[in-house]
């Protein structure tokens, strides 16, 4: 008996035999299971959001494919100061229809002046973007350059929400000039001439299940909802949203 324990080859052989027997039976079991469960489909949820801009050809998806084209502005010879141009941008919940999940959405808007780089000495608040009804602006996250808007109710799968309605530039910029004085003349130069109005939109989506934790984990914002899942956002930070 002592010899048997002391012979490592025998122990190895016995071990291999046990493992082989085990794996064969496991394989057989798996095969049996597979054939019985062929009709079961399992897919994980897929949350997705897209931005669409209204053009002459209808709403067109933008983002990875291309940027904002401002079609109504393009119809004019030049961008007319003060004129409110229609600019319709909407968000669409294009999540996997098979799973059909709702999502919370928010849009981070960044606006600035741009020439050879960002013109940090010019005032972004002179660029006016009109946001559609149904969006809550969280002032705590806002600056003169950035605004963050939350859709307070979940956006259903396949549903859409208009976000942007128009764009304009304040007439005030025509009064903002720098002057160069010489002995014989005074030259004025418009501070905003040849500048670009630069708009960035970032749409974020997060699942509606376990809403408050999901929003906090994804966006770093402490929100309070009126239901654990799929609820309405009633508070962001310490501020009530209504």
């Amino acid at each position: 008996m002592k010899k048997f324990y002391k012979n490592p080859l025998l122990i190895l052989a016995l071990g291999l035999l046990i493992i082989s027997a085990g794996s064969i039976s496991a394989t057989r079991a798996a095969m049996d299971y597979q054939s019985a469960a062929e009709s079961v489909n399992f897919s994980t949820a897929e949350i997705s959001v897209e931005i669409k801009e209204l053009t002459d050809d209808g709403y067109v998806t933008i983002g990875k494919q291309g940027g904002l084209t401002f079609p109504e502005v393009a119809k004019d010879d030049s961008f007319k100061i003060g004129k409110k141009y229609k600019e319709s941008v909407k968000l669409v919940n294009n999540s996997n229809e098979a799973t059909g999940y709702s999502e919370y959405v928010r849009v981070v808007v960044r606006k600035s002046w741009y020439k050879d780089g960002k013109s940090t000495d010019l005032d972004p608040s002179l660029i006016n973007l009109e946001v559609a009804d149904g969006w809550y602006e969280n002032k705590a996250e806002g600056t003169s350059e950035q605004a963050v808007y939350y859709r307070l109710t979940p956006l259903g799968c396949g549903k859409e929400a208009e976000f942007l309605k128009s764009i304009s530039v304040d007439n005030k910029i025509t009064n903002l000039v720098s002057t160069k004085e010489t002995e014989t003349s005074i030259e004025t130069e418009y501070l905003y001439s040849e500048e670009f109005v630069y708009i960035q939109l970032q749409a974020d989506a997060v699942q509606t299940h376990n809403a408050e934790d999901a929003i906090y984990a994804a966006w770093g914002v402490k929100a309070k909802c009126d239901a654990v899942d799929d609820g309405k956002i009633i508070k962001i930070g310490d501020v009530a949203t209504q």
């Binding site: 291309g66 940027g67 961008f79 004129k83 409110k84 007439n171 025509t174 670009f196 376990n210 984990a217």
Partner: protein, 165 residues
């Protein structure tokens, strides 16, 4: 003994890592971004006047010589003994401030479609000057896209012509 401790530490790190990764992957999210730019052009345009004087009547055309849309107006500076009479022409009207206003904006290189016709009548004899001052201001727009002028910001030039005996 040392090896045993190493194994315990490695196991602990692994447990912590697994726990740390789990919540980060627990929520479904998506994000998409886009951007766009619009170029802005701002500047002044100099109005150029073209005058013809016939039979004590001035016929004035104003041209936009610059690169930007403008509104134009003109004023006649004359001695008190002079009476200036506007001949009704489409697009021109007299304002309460003594200026004659052209109602339509002028695109770059465009001229007023109708002439400003001013009749001059002097009750005294002798030589006198009637000076025409033309002014322009950039076209501004209200929210509906309707053009309007802000005459507090003007670009002005003047032409002086001697007329009469």
């Amino acid at each position: 003994m040392k090896r045993k401790w190493c194994l315990v530490v490695a196991a602990a790190i692994m447990l912590i890592s697994v726990n740390a990764v789990k919540p980060a992957m627990a929520y479904f999210t998506d994000s998409v971004a886009t951007e766009g730019k619009i170029k802005l052009k701002l500047g002044d345009s100099i109005p150029k006047i073209d005058e013809k004087v016939e039979n004590m009547t001035k016929k004035i055309t104003i041209t936009n010589t610059g690169d930007y849309d403008i509104f134009v107006r003109a004023k006649a500076l004359a001695p008190e003994s002079c009476t200036i009479t506007l001949t009704e022409m489409e697009g021109w009207s007299k304002g309460d401030d003594g200026y004659y206003y052209y109602s339509k904006p002028l695109a770059p290189k465009a001229a007023t479609e109708s002439q400003l016709i001013l009749g001059i009548n002097n009750s005294l004899s002798g030589s006198f000057n009637v000076i025409i001052v033309q002014e322009a201001t950039k076209v501004l727009y209200d929210q509906d896209g309707k053009a309007y002028a802000d005459w507090n910001a003007v670009v002005a030039t003047e032409n002086s012509y001697s007329t009469g005996n």
